[in-house]
Symmetry: C2
Subunit: 293 residues, 2 copies
């Protein structure tokens, strides 16, 4: 089975692989692209990471992740914004180092409620403000900030941005090349408005990246880890993928799985299994496949 | 501390108390109202349950619960609708037996995806169809069906109705006296549109019942049981309560807590603790309190 050329492995899927291993197993599996995480990149240092990425021949699709800027004014907020500026620089550097077709996209996870706060609306306003502060830096670096709405079960401890519509509302203050959205099947599939908002996101030029994984119940004890290989759960990945493709999205598609069993497996096996799952659950619904059907 | 006259104990908060115990501890605590569940009612039989309720002197606020009608056509769907018709009758009987001010409200939990299905849109349409089949029975019995949007983490295994706006869209096909919505802080607080939709629900006369409990993280291993006493978590119960009150809602307010620790405690203690929590977290934001402030 040939590997879909649009598949990108998000490094979180093989969380315990270091950067060298992640790049190697991905390329060895015949996969053409990868999305990286800041921690393993900074473990080796940015210049070396960029060199390793270039040597791998892989396209670079996203950098994960910025955000976590719901704090009120003060030193911690300043530090968070400074850290996001470093993430923007990393994104630009890695995108330049990746193979032709790499994209400079920084995924933003908004952050939850500050300790002791019940003010969701206020936290959401601070997300908008923070993106406003970072947008000039992103524009200067040629980086797109991709606001990721997270499933509402993470609203208070991880991301106060809970729907694609809300992400698009925030993004609307900025140019689409500077602020877009991350559309991740796991986070948005439940939304009664998801197809309307995907169409809107496409029309507004805001689909910065499309990520795919699956959902099934019961959720694990740590609800962060309930993500599965595409096709293993109950998300209608076919319809969501056709909807995203229908907007004209033609970029790489990441698979990002947080799952203790997947993380415990051999990363070389995981990337091959991911490629198979993608070929079965996603590829048949991509435009090229539909055109040739 | 006097007990707020608008507090109603939802029987699920003292899940392991039988009907007699539930009625006794609630009345003994000085609480005036109770919402019942079908299982403990049917354990003693409806006529006896109605007599026990009447003898308790408590108002009856809701019956929990109908719904679970996302199945496709077939015997199981017919059985589910028949069971809902029995629930409607139970609701009418209990409301007639409760003290003056009782309300005939049947809470509806939609149900999740049928086994093996990924078709959320289809399941949602079947909810609308089922309510259409039940509406004449509810109207004839003088019962209001209260569609309860559940938090999106339950979308596939428990309730495909995930937002208040979605519940109101379904309800809009029917008279407000026949089909309304359940507004439960735990299920709706995360929604960026919640205040808009509460205002809309009030304007459209659809707030059948308002329920209060709290959310905090980390969620427990069984995410169904992550509900807490009002004030113990991070939901902005003050603002939500003022928004509901602001629509003119003047009904009883239930506290419904699913929580293994609460369930393991002495029910007499739990209802007293609930009354205290309600007095601190909810009462100050009710219209009467605001008027006299």
């Amino acid at each position: 089975m040939s590997v879909d050329p649009r598949l990108s492995i998000n490094q979180a899927t093989i969380k315990y692989a270091d950067l060298a291993t992640a790049l190697r197993v991905t390329a060895d599996a015949g996969i053409q692209a990868i999305g990286l995480w800041r921690e393993p990149v900074n473990e080796v240092g940015l210049p070396i990471a960029a060199k390793m990425l270039a040597d791998s021949g892989l396209r670079f699709t996203t950098h994960c992740r910025g955000g976590f800027f719901t704090l009120p004014d003060g030193p911690a907020r300043v530090a968070a914004l400074d850290d996001n500026r470093r993430a923007i620089e990393e994104t630009a550097t890695l995108a330049a180092a990746g193979a032709t077709g790499s994209t400079a996209i920084l995924v933003l996870v908004a952050g939850g409620l500050p300790e002791g706060s019940r003010d969701l609306a206020g936290a959401r306003e601070r997300v908008r403000d923070a993106i406003g502060e970072l947008a000039p830096d992103a524009a200067a670096a040629g980086v797109t900030l991709a606001i990721e709405p997270l499933h509402p079960m993470y609203v208070t401890d991880r991301a106060v941005v809970s729907t694609l519509g809300q992400a698009l509302d925030i993004a609307s203050d900025f140019a689409p090349s500077v602020v877009g959205a991350t559309v991740d099947t796991f986070h948005v599939f439940w939304d009664p408005d998801v197809y309307t908002q995907i169409e809107r996101a496409g029309r507004e030029g805001r689909i910065a990246t499309y990520q795919v994984c699956d959902w099934k119940t019961p959720l694990p004890a740590d609800v962060l880890l309930g993500r599965h290989y595409p096709g293993d759960g109950v998300i209608d990945i076919a319809s969501l993928t056709r909807a995203v493709e229908g907007t004209g999205y033609a970029g790489d598609i990441e698979v990002e799985i947080f799952n203790a069993d997947v993380w415990a497996a051999d990363p070389a096996h995981v990337v091959r299994r991911t490629a198979e799952a993608f070929g079965e659950a996603v590829s048949p619904h991509l435009s090229a496949a539909l055109d040739s059907a």
